[in-house]
Amino acid sequence: MADRYEVHELMVCRIAMEMTEEGDYVTILGSFTPLAYSAYMLAKLTHAPDAWLVGYNAIGMPPVELSFTGSEAAAYRGSLARNSFTPNGHLVHLGTHGLLECVSSAQMDGDGSINLSVIGDYDKPKVRLPGGAGAPEVVQNYRKVVAYFSKHDSRTLCEKVDFATGRRTPISRDRRDAADLATGGPITIITPLAVLTKDDDDRPFKIESVHPGVSVDEVVANTGFALDVSTDVPTTAKPSDEQVALLRNKIDPFGTVRFDFLSGDERLTYLEDVLAQEWARAEAHLAL
């Protein structure tokens, strides 16, 4: 196990476990969310090389290096098919082929509701957020829901979202089977402190594991909704040396994953640094 790792690398490795080679089930690359992208590429490069990955209009895309300007074009090189969004959405988002498409919302509550729309009142918002794109259909129809957050606090994991842009309903397997809805896993929340799961409409989220060095009390104190706490909570697995090396050297050499953990000016300054590196590589390519 790697002793020198950062918490976002542990999160990436835990998300990667959710991407598996399950026959006809598909993982979708949504908006540019480097933490989720890193996890999908890591899965493809390690335990799930034949797992289906769809990015943009590229179906069966290969794992690609993460960058702001190069990942889109790379997705098409080595992809196995192309499809337009609507027919692909019928198969994956609305049909029966959706495995994994991580969500990361401004708020999430104990019902599993996600808020990507507004802070405050919907009609007079304090902050108008981007909106959910396909997330409302994803959380309802995929085999499972995986949500990650760069902060674990009671403002983000809150008692009640200001607006439910999306919510999986029902959650319990027997009720989903009865309604002929996809099943395959719980709602899983992955944060810098812990992994939380919920698979029963009538029970709170439980703590699947706490990360190394984090106490159960710390998780409970920073979560805005009630948690089921068992007496013996395991510790989240640390990344392996191989995983950390792949992430740093191959998958994300520019460090785009840090964006999820920066805000405001910090983020734009860091972006300029990454862009300068991407530009330098392209200029070197031209000079050859």
């Binding site: 493809k44 609507t86 794109a133 842009t165």
Partner: protein, 304 residues
Amino acid sequence: MTVNKITQLERLPELVPEGAVVAFGGGWFANHPMAAVRELVRSRRDDVHALALLGSIDVDLMVGAGLLSHLTFSMVTLEAMGLAQNFRRAVQSGALPITEIPALSLQVALEAGAQAVPFLPLRGPLGSDLVASNPDFFGTATTSFSDDEVMIVRAIRPDVAIVHALRCDRLGNAQFDGTFSQDPEISAASDTVIVTCEEIVDSTIISESAHLTKIPGFLVDHVIEAPFGAHPCSHVPRYAQDAWEILDYQKAAIAGGEVFDAYVDRIREESESAYRERVLGGGRDKVLAALAEVGPTLEASQNG
């Protein structure tokens, strides 16, 4: 009589009727019809009802330039660069009326529009508050097959679709060799379809690679040549997104006020060809092309 749908970018605003619902192509920072957006900004219109599925700088620029009277959308964001500032401010202040619809539901509504049926059923976003807040869009139906209710969405038929393609001929056969999002579907759903393209080519060129034709010409009404017409968004495989230009945009949008007004004024005061000269000069065009080539794919054997 020979069909010729070719026209000039300067004519685009007059092809958009007053108060029209206009569906814009592309998604995220990929392939939005930015030359068309800029030309609409130059026209100083203020009456467009935009429909955008995965909007970014396209929508935010139109909001900031005062072009929109209404916005139907599923997402508007500048992703890693932050919230879409003009969009955020305009909705928070109440200046921009919006209709927020989840993306897949919006796509099915456009499909219904294309098929000329009043609605279509779907496995929709049952737990979303957007269902209750959009009763004119989400409904339920029962059929003669059973007593079960199914979720339906009402058909949407935009007045105009504007998309940006790689190549197109005089008949409107539009080809793509990279990201085309849902451009074929918005074209099928809309009454009038305007294709801007990197280059207009002879139909013989189109037929040599007919598998790249994603929008058949019978759907298309107008064809406009607009090189780098997606800039600063990407048009893969020709060029990657110009992230420095998008960053300059975002800094102006964050500053708002006079700073953003100056950004808009500069677009209004220059022609599209002058815009190209300004932003692509100094070899920027070649770097953007190289950026679309140098991002590597990875192989499982390359450990560490």
